[in-house]
Symmetry: C2
Subunit: 565 residues, 2 copies
């Protein structure tokens, strides 16, 4: 039995999870501290920042602006401990099948295992295969970068177009964007959506003879990816005029050699994926190939090293100094006790624009579950809705609601001390905004302060009275701040791995499987039927839609009628 923690045993013996001692201890404690004013807590304890912050290498994690006391953290960590987080982490890295619904190991940590200690799955060391694929990635990315890999007409590759969706898209896209200052290889673009617009707009202006496609799909059956890959193949062949060109312009990231060959891609141009790497944890694998092409394999290795450094921290640091664990339990605190439904990720770095979208998948596809590890329906909230946009942009968009709305939105602010573009005073301004927003959310503005502010503007008493409540800020809104020395491959690797382990830790506490995704199945099944009906409707056939509800049938008919014009 992989999961056999104190809480597992209690729950299996019939105690609801939220009635177990550590949960009850937290519920009780919450009653006492829920009105805690952080402003007062800071005033009372000048050591609060030191107490509630942790630095690892080039990453500082400040969690002092949360509605917590030392006792809160003790109780939250007691929950993590009783949940078996440490044991579950050990089970993960030792290759046990912790993705139990799919009977799979979960070994994205092996992909960045720079120690090269062996990692066994079913008594078989996976490290030689991992390292062999990494070596092939190095050779291939170097060949594309130095021009020795040639297209069918003998020209070097100017643009790499990566075709993939979900876990085969968001990671490489986000990382390539984040590492743009290191970009010294061919241009890299991404196509994901089955909407042809994505393909058309992405290849606009490209020269097929100088374009290489990377097709990323573990099964090589993903509808969107295979549709886009087929369109890409036609686009290439139409221009280059020869089907044999496919071998020089397509490589595959997949687990299915046969399907890759059937598409026309040379099986020697396939980079292998394994079933113990989930899509949303796969940027460290061959799925990261576009990153290696863009910034070079040495930089890609630095990314892996950053991930590995965070793995070591997660596995070795005591819970009270463990960044991913602290991130995780704070999320549990707000989600399960304060009733927060969402979590905002606010990177104050334009290069991290796609981090929220990336983390949306990492988090919501992992922990958007409601069946526990005993296959019973949970009776508590699990994963939050994760969202965000870069700062300072968000300040001029949705921060109004975070400051003065009726909903509690815990925030992660993420910034970098050094900018890759240190022009004028842009960067101090950017950081001043980040630091001040976190401060403002916490301290708020009292009625007395607001009154003074309005007074300074020369408002009359009646005006002050009417306006006052609108310019008061309740404050006491929690946030974490993650400050990186600089956005480098290494710190980026640390950041991503920190979120991965946060998600893992929460999954263990909520007793869900963070590594399957049954919830994506049903839509796929129904889409197959709807597509067949659409085709027949578009062809003018009389189609019996009575198997559908009237809305689905009505939308199908409306679409077909309007599409036919």
């Amino acid at each position: 039995m992989v999961f056999d923690s104190e809480l597992d045993r209690l729950v299996r013996a019939g105690t609801p999870l939220t009635e177990t001692p550590p949960w009850r201890a937290l519920a009780e404690h919450w009653e006492r501290v829920r009105r805690l004013e952080m402003r007062e807590a800071f005033a009372k304890d000048p050591e609060r920042f030191r107490r509630f912050s942790v630095a690892v290498d080039g990453l500082l994690f400040d969690y002092s602006k949360n509605r917590i006391t030392e006792e809160t953290i003790r109780r939250l960590l007691a929950l993590a401990e009783a949940s078996g987080v440490k044991e579950a982490a050990a089970a993960m890295v030792s290759g046990q099948p912790i993705n139990w619904t799919e009977r799979r190991a979960v070994l994205h940590v092996a992909l960045r295992n720079r120690s090269n200690r062996s990692v066994l799955v079913d008594d078989h060391d996976v490290m030689p295969a991992v390292n062999a694929v990494l070596e092939r990635m190095r050779q291939f990315s170097t060949a594309v970068r130095d021009g020795s890999w040639r297209g069918a007409t003998g020209l070097p590759i100017r643009t790499v177009v990566h075709i993939g969706i979900g876990g085969s898209h968001l990671g490489p896209e986000m990382i390539t964007g984040a590492l743009r200052p290191y970009h010294d290889g061919p241009a890299v673009r991404f196509v994901s959506n089955v909407d042809a617009t994505d393909f058309v707009e992405t290849v606009r202006g490209l020269s097929p003879a100088e374009t290489l496609f990377i097709v990323a799909s573990k099964t090589f059956t993903t509808q969107e990816t295979m549709t886009n890959a087929a369109t890409a193949r036609s686009w290439l062949i139409d221009a280059v005029g020869d089907g044999s060109a496919v071998a020089r312009h397509f490589v595959a990231l997949s687990a299915d050699r046969k399907a890759v060959g059937a598409f026309g891609i040379d099986p020697d141009s396939m980079f292998e994926l394994w079933d113990w790497v989930g899509g949303r944890y796969s940027s460290w694998s061959a799925i990261g190939l576009p990153v290696a092409v863009a910034v070079g394999f040495d930089r890609f290795e630095e990314l892996l090293e950053g991930g590995h450094a965070m793995d070591r921290h997660f596995l070795e640091a005591p819970l009270e100094r463990n960044i991913p664990v602290l991130m995780a339990v704070l999320g549990v605190w707000y989600g399960n006790f304060f009733g927060a439904a969402s979590h905002a990720v606010l990177p104050y770095d334009e290069y991290l624009s796609r981090l929220p979208a990336y983390l949306q998948q990492a988090d919501m596809e992992s922990n958007g579950k409601s069946v526990d590890r005993d296959s019973r329906r949970v009776e508590y909230q699990t994963g939050p809705i994760l969202w965000g946009e870069p700062g300072t942009n968000g300040q001029h968009a949705f921060f109004q609601l975070i400051h003065q709305g009726t909903r509690l939105v815990p925030c992660d602010f993420i910034g970098c001390a050094r900018s890759h573009n240190p022009i004028g005073d842009h960067h101090p301004k950017l950081m001043a905004n980040m630091i001040a927003q976190a401060e403002a959310l916490m301290v708020g503005r009292t009625a007395a302060e607001a009154r003074a502010e309005l007074g300074r503007r020369g408002l009359r008493d009646a005006e002050v009275a009417a306006l006052l409540p609108h310019v008061v800020f309740e404050g006491n809104r929690p946030s974490n701040t993650i400050l990186l020395d600089e956005l480098t491959p290494r710190t980026l690797g640390m950041l991503i791995a920190a979120y991965e382990h946060k998600i893992f830790t929460q999954g263990v506490i909520w007793r869900i499987n963070s590594f399957d995704q049954w919830g994506v199945e049903l839509g796929k099944v129904l889409a197959t039927r709807v597509l067949d009906e659409e085709r027949r409707l578009l062809a003018g056939e009389d189609v019996d839609l009575s198997g559908h509800d009237s809305s689905t049938a009505g939308l199908l008919r409306a679409f077909a009628e309007k599409a036919r014009g």
Copy 2:
């Protein structure tokens, strides 16, 4: 008194809003229908789609997949009526100061008032000024497009870079992206973030002598915008070598002629904004200039016509056929009765990629409030967290949580019957996915269906038993579907205006001011102080940070130390 509805009077006499008769009628009704299974409702009523859908011109709104009965809609509309939605809308379009905290009229409808009936603000018809600015936008955008507007060295403009943030950015950026198939003018790019990376990456590769900057800021003091504008001015002058070039390479969208002149922009190159247009409602004004440059002024006018058509619908259609009102009351139904905290916007069109970010501002900055129109704190939830990414991408990212997570997420699916890029079967696949996802969310998959599905895969009984709960879909998840004939300037205008009026209607029901944004103030004030301290720390000064909490002080010191290296 602008707001004097039945409910206003009751609340002012002391009845909490949620205790007024229409709210109580809904609360009672909710108890009876909260377990309503849409699947059964569809089975019982073959007319449900016809009953719960409305078409206006090229826009079909299907709201039949909601947890409602006819009685629900009756009671929700009774609430809207008693809240004075109709009267408030009339007050808005007649120029009354419904933005009462700022004593301003709210007249984005005047900007698209194609009827040219007069619109009075303080007895003064604003239409002549609106039309005069539109005429200047036509002349200017035409001159830039046809090459008759020349840069300082005599070259025509190849790229327009729009500098603005928040309401001066998200609208034009989203609309320019949405109308990309119509793009036949100079390239248009956007800079918003004070992060210098935004500017650097946006102007990379551009020729200053062929670049025109549009600087958009009502006050012409917005920190981000003025910082970027100053950097842009240096970038231009460094290349072109002459400060007088500014006049040929910068235009302003502002309300402050003096500040514009002080920056060095010819006041004749200023396009006027007015204080009765809020930033997040301003794409219809001169803020839309980059759109007009990209697609031409005739297309921009079609956008205005679409907005105007939706205005007429909103003002004239009875509540039960009124799309924005129905959207609004459904949001109230989920937010205030079912406890949904968020709302997902899922455009199945890559050209609408930025629609969620745009609506995030439109909605959350408008309705993320907690003080009512009597300046009292509300005791109910107001605006939701709005989020989303384009489909089908979202399906491979966060749909897991929407299908099987513990949180209710009402969704808006938005699709187009005809694609601008009708290649192969991409578009039928895209639409099949959209229709099937909405169907899957509603119908779910019962245990019996899931068992049959697992059986087909040849699983043994023990495996089926363990896996079954994971492959069950509870269903009954609500969604609206908006189907456009095609994404054109006109249908886009209708779509935006529909959301604007939805937001307006909800604000009226929640008795909040959707048109101010006091919540953005405090962060700005604190950032000024923090910036000053940062500068001194970076200069190596000894700075007294004791006025801050230890977290703010600690982050400031960490930033300065790391930044100095």
